[in-house]
Symmetry: C2
Subunit: 194 residues, 2 copies
């Protein structure tokens, strides 16, 4: 077993810890919070199922990879709730340190590739990363809808906050926008959003 | 929102239930069993990280997709423990019915694509599906190793059973075989395998 292979196995074992990171989002049966590993899987499947709804042609493999690794930094940095203004103040610094350590477990060239995918996701400038970010907004909205407001009710989130957060869906996955609007309207009517 | 898009969203919501299916494998901190959604995410990442260790050139996107969908049938069919001879008797019939129902939620052409990926994984004849099956054997072995025998001890699994199950790693991911042999030897020395 060469040392590059050994380093990949070390990384593969390390990222198992993403199964211990809890997000605010509930799974659709409302029995518990979802883990970041589960969320990443869900996004990966959504990426190839919905790829032809991206604004232009995208590299589907790069998009799926990006979805699968986009939250690995949470192993060290934890999940920062989307509507937590205080947590967002040092989110970037915490996540950069996490990326250095965790991706650095891989052989050099592979570490650089995965780090570049994560940087691309965070910058959200390319068609692939804009699409992946839209999915990252849409998935928790769907789960909040199916759990009668889930996270929104627990944290008293407002319609304005959700509408602002969903703008990336409006821009980069416009086919889903009527659904998003319908869900937000229903959530207001039901009192799930203030 | 066209009806094809609506069907994809219905499927995306349905597969959230894969987060409720528990496997026998423990996560590496040994705190609980892993969910099938988490296992599928782990395999998807392993697929692109280890792709250059496949026996020949493989279509990485098709392999990653296959890993992400290979256990979706467990939503209806449940997880059948690898060493459960009785459960294996009707596993195929249960899983075929599940595939008909769940993949059938998708628009026709996409349902056919995902069904074909699942059939390919189950048949394990192509380079991509043979490699994906090897990953599906390797990942629980790694987790059993890190949890001091985990599932093996709980179910009194034997060295012969594990060695037989790992033959697909020997054949289709030979770079990992020395690691697998080392783990099996350690597990015997520690009394984790009978």
């Amino acid at each position: 077993m060469d040392s590059d292979f050994q380093r990949r196995i070390t990384f593969i074992l390390e990222i198992d810890r993403l199964k211990t990171i809890l997000r605010q989002t509930l799974i659709t049966d409302a029995s518990r919070q979802e883990t970041t590993a589960e969320h990443s899987w869900h996004l990966g499947v959504m990426a190839f199922l919905l790829a032809d709804h991206a604004l232009g042609p995208i590299d589907v493999l790069r998009t799926v990879k990006m979805c699968l690794v986009h939250d690995i930094v949470e192993i060290d940095a934890g999940d920062t709730f989307a509507y937590d203004a205080v947590g967002y103040q040092d989110k970037e610094a915490r996540e950069q340190r996490a990326a250095d350590r965790i991706f650095g477990l891989l052989p050099e060239s592979q570490a650089a590739e995965i780090r570049a995918l994560w940087d691309e996701f965070e910058a959200a400038q390319t068609p692939e990363s804009r699409f992946a970010n839209a999915l990252d907004r849409l998935q928790p909205l769907l789960n909040n809808w199916k759990t009668a407001g889930g996270t929104w009710r627990r944290h008293t989130v407002s319609q304005a906050q959700v509408t602002a957060r969903m703008q990336s869906v409006r821009t980069d996955l416009p086919e889903a926008w009527p659904l998003v609007e319908g869900i937000i309207n229903e959530a207001c009517a039901q009192g799930w959003l203030k």
